[in-house]
């Protein structure tokens, strides 16, 4: 009897609604088939796909705070940076295996989030945003200039051949012959596609955790805080621990992303913590759709795509694309479009952002839902529309 209860309790821990399971399955399929569907878009190379997976995790984590509680943190890049530094130090001091590195990254960034969250969450609204921004800038300055023995400042923290790596030497794992050792997981080197699949699996897990949080009573409480915190307090609900928990979870997600960044590319630089990076994750979330599970992921992919692919298109590539047009027309097309690609990619992204905020406040996800709804309306009620039209006539 007892075991039965425990079992059902345990199974409930992993339980998801049918709808969520389907979403998760589709999501997993989409993520794992990235090398196939990204190929025509020119983005199917491991370096970028790893970034897609990692920044999606970052955005998912950010959305747990911003999407559910409505608290806009402007300093989330700090946790990403802390995670990266921790992971690289784990590579330097303990072992090149990524599992301890990522574990430490999550724990240490969680501790940072606890401290920063404890102080920042004493205020709400714009004051909270400013406080997180201030803390993040503080972390950035510390990493860039003050704590250079730990962070190596501008140059970035790199793994070197002569590092101690206590665990590796204890277990007798030899560093690779000659070159700088590379991160591995249980003996397999994490480079290229292997690195991508590791990130992809972690992303799917992170997505699942996010689904669970959204569906849980905890998530419900957070939504309650978003809609009316005062009312929550009057009903005898202590919101503080909930807020802090959301902040720490979100910081740990960022730390996980930072740890993975270091695992796939063992360098940690202070620029990862700049306020522009914190701003970027806000953009990702808003672009994709705040408060939805899948929205931030889409936003992260769109922004990373622009940053890496659009910025690489130059007039030469444009000329190739429009070579089929007559010469004069080709010139016009290339001149006009070249302002929006290459060094002009910020402009395109900015325009896209403005259009989305103005016309689709729910982000790209709302856009796709509207599109889907339109198609559905076209298919099913055709007959009724027809009848209405007839009646009208």
């Amino acid at each position: 009897m007892n075991t039965l209860i425990r079992q059902s309790g345990l199974s409930r821990l992993f339980d998801l609604s049918r709808r969520d399971v389907i979403t998760l399955l589709i999501f997993a399929a989409v993520v794992l088939t990235m090398p196939i569907w990204l190929a025509p878009l020119g983005a199917a190379y491991p370096g970028l796909m790893q970034k897609f997976a990692i920044y999606a995790i970052f955005a998912i984590g950010f959305n747990i705070l911003f999407g559910l509680t409505g608290y806009l943190s402007f300093g989330h890049a700090a946790f990403l940076g802390v995670g990266s530094y921790t992971a690289v130090w784990s590579f330097k001091l303990l072992t090149m295996d990524i599992l301890p590195a990522i574990l430490f990254a999550i724990v240490v960034s969680g501790v940072f989030a606890l401290v920063i969250g404890y102080f920042s969450l004493r205020r709400s609204g714009i004051y909270f945003s400013i406080l997180t921004l201030a803390f993040a800038q503080m972390c950035y300055s510390l990493a860039y200039s003050v704590l250079t023995p730990i962070t190596q400042g501008e140059t970035g923290l790199l793994v070197a051949r002569g590092d101690p790596r206590v665990l590796d030497t204890m277990l007798g794992v030899q560093a690779q012959t000659g070159g700088v050792p590379q991160p591995s997981m249980l003996g397999t080197t994490i480079t290229g596609y292997t690195g991508f699949y590791v990130c992809a699996v972690v992303l799917i897990l992170a997505f699942y955790v996010s689904q669970k949080i959204f569906a849980s009573p905890f998530g419900m409480a957070l939504r309650g805080i978003k809609s009316n915190q005062t009312r929550m307090v009057y009903t005898g609900f202590n919101t503080k621990p909930y807020m802090l928990a959301a902040f720490v979870i979100s910081g740990m997600f960022a730390g996980l992303a930072g740890g993975l960044l270091a695992a796939t590319d063992p360098i940690a630089g202070a620029e990862r913590m700049r306020w522009t990076e914190s701003g970027n994750v806000v953009l990702m979330t808003i672009l994709g759709g705040v408060g939805t599970v899948i929205g931030p992921v889409i936003g992260a992919w769109v922004i990373k795509y622009f940053e890496n692919i659009f910025s690489a298109i130059n007039t030469g590539t444009l000329n190739e694309w429009f070579a089929f047009l007559p010469d004069g027309l080709q010139g016009v097309f290339v001149t006009v479009l070249s302002k929006f690609v290459g060094e002009g990619w910020h402009l395109t992204l900015g325009l896209l952002f403005v259009l989305i905020v103005v016309f689709l406040p729910g982000g790209l996800l709302e856009g796709s839902q509207r599109l889907a709804a339109r198609f559905r309306r076209k298919k099913q009620p055709q007959r009724r529309e027809l009848r209405q039209m007839e009646a009208g006539e």
């Binding site: 199974s11 190379y45 491991p46 300055s141 501008e154 060094e343």
Partner: protein
């Protein structure tokens, strides 16, 4: 009910793992196929692709775009288009103006956003997607060091662009990274005799230093060089990067007893700090019975233009200047001027030269196989690239060549003539022992890119 749910979970897990292995499989096979070759071998792909990765947005975008112009010009000249530029003056030269090893060079570009992460992302894209056999370009030392360590991991040669920090060919040097540009330590050695000649050996210096790696290495190098002259260092103050208003740092200078202000700033920092120091009336002041002077050890044309009238009479060092009189410089200034309608900056020059030197090394080695190309570059002695006789030193991959000492033009005739070359410190004097900065180059054997 609970059973069904468990099954679903299992299903997901199995699907996930199965999918991962199925998709990973082809990449393992391709990796095996590559094993005989090195990363992005043009013999396999049939294409020679250079990756030009420079900041096109962000605080150093201007210098980055100049550098990109230099690279594109180099590709034209390597492929035998245009007037051939420095291929006519480089001695010894192996390139024939018909591409590299008889095949035309193509290129891809990227935006580093003056950000090390973005620089590495861009370089990875060039190597993994575009099949670049060589990556080049940088405007900060952070970018250069980040890309150079990536290059070592990937087994693709990286030719750095503008990077002045001692670390690039010092403690962070790599076998796959090469630097043509000069460095902070050489600036210190080069500028010292001119400072002694102009301002005497009895001076008290006050340093304002941009608070990051490059700033510190320069401060350290200049401090050592000026103290060797007999100067006294009053204070070294660190200023945060990207500050707009330096008045809080300039006020203490007035009463510090110093009579020289040394600005270890670059780019926007210098464009802000120098005019503010001049507006503060520092240069009109007398201190210790001498005229107060300002020194900017690392100068560039673009910065000088940005700082406006404030640069007049200010002494600094430079890697190269378009107004030099040698054949190489004249040829490059002419080609560049015809292509872009303005004289080139040192950023464009170093980029151009790096691309040519790499191509020439491949031609001499007769293969793109990186270890052979690296050996062709190591210890390569050449002339005619605008810097006099130059050696690509094997020990640290740093070019040994003369360093220019420049002064802000008092009466510029045009907006391009902002700097005057007042002297050259010969190569022998700026040559130093590579061991003083430590670091190790690492192995020759290339890694395989996945």
């Amino acid at each position: 009910m609970s059973k069904l749910v468990m099954n679903r979970r299992k299903l997901i897990r199995t699907l996930g793992i199965g999918g991962a292995t199925a998709l990973a499989a082809p990449s393992f096979f391709t990796r095996g196929a590559w094993a005989q070759q090195f990363c992005n071998s043009p013999e396999v792909s049939g294409k020679i692709i250079f990756g030009f990765n420079v900041p096109q947005t962000g605080s150093y975008a201007e210098e980055g775009m100049e550098q990109l112009n230099g690279y594109m010009l180099a590709v034209k000249h390597i492929n035998g288009e245009g007037d051939g530029g420095l291929l006519n003056t480089l001695k010894p030269v192996a390139l024939k103006g018909n591409g590299v090893l008889g095949r035309k060079v193509e290129f891809v570009t990227g935006d580093t956003q003056t950000n090390t992460d973005a620089a590495r992302d861009g370089a990875r894209r060039m190597i993994e997607r575009d099949g670049a056999v060589m990556v080049t370009g940088s405007v900060t030392s952070g970018e250069a060091i980040a890309q150079q360590s990536l290059a070592q991991e990937m087994g693709v040669i990286y030719m750095s662009g503008l990077t002045h920090s001692n670390d690039t060919t010092g403690k962070d040097k790599r076998r796959y990274g090469f630097r043509h540009f000069f460095m902070a330590h050489q600036s210190g050695i080069a500028i010292a005799p001119f400072l002694a000649q102009e301002y005497g050996t009895d001076r008290r210096a006050y340093h304002l230093t941009a608070d990051y790696t490059w700033g510190w290495t320069q401060e350290e190098s200049i401090k050592a060089a000026t103290e060797a002259l007999g100067w006294e260092t009053v204070a070294t103050i660190r200023t945060p990067l990207g500050l707009g208003d330096y008045s809080q740092y300039l006020t203490p200078v007035l009463n510090s007893g110093a009579d020289v202000l040394i600005l270890n700033h670059y780019g926007h920092d210098m464009v802000n700090s120098l005019p503010q120091a001049v507006q503060f009336g520092l240069r009109d002041r007398q201190a210790n019975g001498k005229n107060f002077e300002i020194v900017v050890p690392m100068f560039s044309e673009l910065m000088a233009v940005g700082a406006g009238d404030a640069v007049r009479g200010i002494i600094g060092t430079s890697n190269w200047q378009w107004s030099l009189e040698d054949e190489g410089t004249k040829a490059f200034t002419k080609s560049y001027g015809e292509a872009y309608g303005a004289p080139p900056s040192q950023s464009a020059h170093t980029g151009y030269v790096q691309a040519i030197l790499y191509a020439d090394a491949v031609e001499r080695a007769g293969t793109f196989y990186p270890p052979e190309v690296i050996k062709a570059l190591e210890g390569f002695e050449f002339d005619g690239m605008g810097n006099g006789p130059t050696l690509y030193r094997a020990e640290d991959h740093q070019c040994m060549k003369e360093v220019l000492v420049v002064r802000g033009n008092e009466n510029p005739a045009s907006r391009f003539e902002v700097l005057d070359v007042i002297g050259k410190t010969p190569r022998e004097e700026v040559t130093y022992d590579p061991a003083i900065f430590g670091g190790e180059l690492g192995p020759y054997e290339p890694n395989q890119c996945a």
